[in-house]
Symmetry: C2
């Protein structure tokens, strides 16, 4: 047997980070574009935009920055705060899976 | 900020226990009847039956026992194994929330 988990970080204003949002942020970082990221994940641009908009409204620091124009024609990327949030989420997720595996052994459910 | 989690126990054959199934088992224990339990939880009898059926197929011990007839007109109740599974699930869930709260503090996300 295995224990699986899903974790998400929320505040009173809504969900800040969950599995889907972390995937989206990682894809934005990879592609440099919200449009490309939403296409890669097969979600609509509108949905991706709403997720980002909600994430950007309530943290103390923004997660995403948008550059308009420039030599590369603009694009979307993560702020340092956004990058650190993903690292923290992934770390907590991994540590949580380890913790749950230990619980399985402790309760003799293996 | 808060970290929330959902946990479930599964094997290669499917999900054994998750939030919904634990609720159903607790309600069966309370009402002594799968029919009453499904009504209380506002799910169809068919759905409740399928959940129980899936749970009963793959653990080493059955979770549910059904009594036909008798002075109380039969009914459904949890086996000792079923009761212990719920206790273990609730314990792991509570310990997981505590663990995640600690992670939130550790990563300065409070």
């Amino acid at each position: 047997m295995k224990i699986k988990s899903k974790i998400w970080i929320e505040s009173e204003e809504g969900i800040l980070l969950g599995e889907g949002r972390v995937k989206l942020l990682k894809m934005i970082e990879e592609t440099g574009s919200l449009n490309k990221a939403s296409k890669s994940l097969k979600i609509s641009y509108q949905k991706a935009w709403r997720m980002i908009d909600e994430m950007n409204t309530f943290p103390t620091h923004p997660i995403i920055k948008t550059q308009i124009g420039g030599s590369k024609g603009g694009g979307t990327s993560l702020t340092d705060y956004g990058k650190s949030l993903i690292l923290i989420y992934d770390t907590i997720n991994k540590d949580c899976w380890k913790f749950l595996d230990e619980q399985l052994e402790k309760h003799h459910l293996c």
